[in-house]
Point group: C3
Chain length 181, copies 3
């Protein structure tokens, strides 16, 4: 079977259970989740030695984002969603674990440092964009409540992981200082 089916050539496409315009807000939501997933793929190419734990996390998250995508694409009324509260609990444990490695924080930090840290910050901001797109649809169509909780935690995961990479590679985060006189 060819990968290009041409069925989308008039601007329509398929959810699981319904034909819609490609400008449909559900398509926007899981399309943004897909964008985040691909950015994690880029990030994975930059994770340094000594961060094998993080590589495993990121791959686990990639699978979970497909689970989430399937839930967001599904318009048939149902309760047995793919996304599970356990995914969130796992993230929380990992946040605590990485957070302990870095010094306490009372200011914003400039996103960057090691290449992997820089990409993790970019993941953080794209995760937040995806979260906004999920919040957009959550008031209008049936979506798993866990989706927003998971995405909220995921951006904090990326923040904690970015800081841990810089600590482990001996790079210091630069605190933001206001230019205000």
């Amino acid at each position: 079977m060819k990968i290009y089916t041409k069925s989308g050539d008039e601007g329509d496409t398929h959810l699981i259970g319904k034909k819609v315009k490609k400008s449909n807000e559900r398509v926007e939501a899981y399309g943004t989740v897909d964008e985040l997933n691909s950015l994690i793929g880029v990030t994975l190419t930059s994770i340094p030695d000594g961060c094998e734990d993080m590589k495993e996390d990121l791959q686990k998250i990639q699978h979970e984002l497909f689970d989430l995508g399937a839930d967001l694409a599904n318009v048939t009324t149902r309760e047995n969603y793919y996304i599970q509260n356990e995914f969130t609990i796992y993230l929380e444990n990992r946040i605590d674990y990485y957070w302990e490695e870095a010094p306490p924080l009372e200011q914003f930090i400039l996103p960057g440092g090691h290449t992997a840290a820089a990409y993790l910050h970019q993941c953080r901001t794209v995760a937040r964009r995806a979260e906004r797109r999920i919040v957009d649809i959550s008031e209008e169509v049936q979506t798993p409540a866990e989706a927003i909780v998971y995405m909220n935690r995921l951006s904090d995961y990326f923040f904690a992981a970015a800081r841990a990479v810089n600590v482990r590679t001996d790079l210091e985060d630069i605190p933001y200082r206001s230019n205000r006189k």
Copy 2:
């Protein structure tokens, strides 16, 4: 002539033939095409040896995206668009060509692998975002029908190309497995 004309400092700008707000949906559409074009520029820096064919494709596509951008910016009624059906046909041939190199697929794959493959997946998702922005305007203003067809095929091109890079660099794509118990 200076590059900064300051003419956009109040939030207005120019299409070809009309003054509009920068929040205009056409500006959103070609601005997103421009974002994709710049990501292809990043991708080009990572294409490995043995993929010279792909480098040529990507540069050809960069030119075509400017052609597309000019069509999307043009509000004067016309039929002689820059974008041509031949661009799409070329993409289809290249999809077939790369697709043959990779094993058949019956599941989603985690975006990633070689750095170039990872970027190509990111291009794929940004191309789909650009497609959504073109669909947004296509119902309201005159746009070439070929624009949506081309963008639809372009995201499949990136998918096929990403897989070919991983095959050629001996990296295996990881199939998605649902976490559902």
Copy 3:
């Protein structure tokens, strides 16, 4: 204090002075500024030797984007914004400075070349996306007029800087040529 406060788990969040939905347009605007900031972090990892001047610029800009973010998040009526006209003037000086290094231009150029140049083009397009999101809100809520001026100039800064990187690393920008017959 834990970084994850869970207060956003129902899709709400806080501006400075007000509780809003995460889909609020102000959140979209500073969230996109944050996305740009993180991309500058990525770009900084690729700046070649001989461009220390640009590294300093980019870090200065990162601080300024937090200043801008604070202004966009602030709903309390006020006039003493963080963002200052001097930030724009600095950018204009730097544009002139980099612009002189590159040959005059009368066509579009393909975004790319050196990795840093490619990322700077990506910054350019994401800055323009952020500009559009700021224009979106500027008609409805009180925002500093300087915000749009600054963002308008910032995308020209990235364009000039990208060209300077390619000149300094002996890479020629490829001019766009229309495919039109």
